[in-house]
């Protein structure tokens, strides 16, 4: 069903704002341009803010998957600097 292949995963469900986005940034900076990261994040504030912040940094959001357990997986393609 998916037209992407996940290169790396990150779990930021143990963090609270703003460390959620800090951890997402750290994971993204470790990837090469064009690689795809799946970020597991909590419902509520993280799912409202992280996709927007990731997008503002120029990365491409491919999908937001509802895991049905109060968490989501955000699929992001890393953009170059």
């Amino acid at each position: 069903m998916d037209d992407f292949e996940i290169d790396e995963t990150a779990d930021i469900t143990d963090a609270v704002c703003p460390l959620t986005f800090v951890k997402a940034k750290v994971a993204l900076e470790e990837l090469d341009d064009g690689q795809i990261l799946s970020i597991r994040l909590n419902d509520g504030e993280p799912v409202q803010n992280i996709p927007r912040s990731v997008k503002e940094e120029g990365h491409q959001i491919l999908k937001l998957l509802d895991n049905g357990d109060g968490t989501y997986n955000l699929i992001v393609r890393k953009a170059g600097d």
Partner: protein
């Protein structure tokens, strides 16, 4: 080396900035900044650079902490009176941020030691309080091809500029030579509001951070002046002097040298 969770939290407000991020924080971590003078300018600069996680900070000063310093030199506290300023400054910086390595150099910077002193650093902050030292640091940084931040404060006023090798005028292009000894009062004689040092020293730290990150525009080619009473900042364009004695096309100054110090400045040193 990856940052620990504690470091990510400590530097989170930096890492969140798109101009910094993890890469920028690592640049700060591997950067080496030298602060000459642990006084009114050096104190805030040292505090902010240590807090920012600049990995190696050198601090050079020959003085001991005096009670009259505490009104503006916010890195020293009352129990530090009598202690070497560089030791007092090192203790405060390490207490703020144990990630930072502080090289405390208790020395009077002069023509004989300045080139060695600056050689291991990426950026120099001139936080000295007298003209001979300012010309000495300028000449050494031009000759040693080191970027540096010049600043001075007196009464309610302050000024600063940034020199980057090959990118603009140096301090001597503009000011040529020191005024005669005792012609101009030092802040010891003239007085200074402590917060002026806070404003200008913090701007020096900001210039160092921007230089390390390679982000934004530095004060190269400009003098920023601050008048606290009028609440006025002015940014004045500085001309490059092709006949400058140290950075010009045919320099006469090929090695650092010392000017005579005003007599009152040496009392108590």
């Amino acid at each position: 080396m990856a940052f620990t969770d504690a470091q990510l939290e400590r530097y989170s407000r930096h890492i969140l900035l798109s101009e910094v991020g993890v890469k920028g924080q690592k640049k700060l971590q591997s950067a080496k900044v030298l602060i000459i003078g642990a006084g009114g300018l050096g104190a805030p600069a040292a505090l902010y650079l240590a807090a920012a996680g600049v990995g190696t900070i050198g601090i050079a000063d020959a003085d001991a902490v005096d009670l009259s310093n505490l009104q503006r030199q916010v890195i020293h506290a009352t129990p530090d009176v009598g202690k070497a300023k560089v030791i007092s400054a090192k203790e405060t910086m390490e207490a703020i941020n144990p990630d930072v390595t502080v090289n405390a150099c208790r020395m009077f910077v002069n023509a004989g030691n300045v080139m060695d002193l600056i050689s291991g650093y990426d950026f120099i902050i001139d936080g000295t309080d007298n003209f001979p030292a300012k010309f000495l640091i300028n000449d050494a940084c031009v000759l040693g091809k080191k970027p540096f931040s010049h600043a001075g404060i007196i009464r309610f006023k302050g000024q600063l500029t940034t020199y980057v090798p090959g990118q603009g005028p140096c301090y001597r292009c503009v000011f040529k030579q020191p005024p005669p000894p005792d012609a101009v009062p030092t802040c010891r004689q003239a007085g200074v509001i402590g917060a002026v040092g806070g404003v200008i020293g913090s701007l020096q730290a900001m210039e160092a951070v921007k230089y390390i990150l390679s982000k934004g525009d530095l004060l190269t080619g400009f003098l920023l002046t601050y008048d606290a009473l009028k609440m006025d900042f002015r940014k004045i364009k500085l001309p490059l002097d092709k006949s400058c004695a140290v950075c010009g096309e045919h320099p006469a100054i090929l090695a650092p040298f010392d000017y005579e110090q005003a007599v009152c400045d040496l009392n108590g040193h």
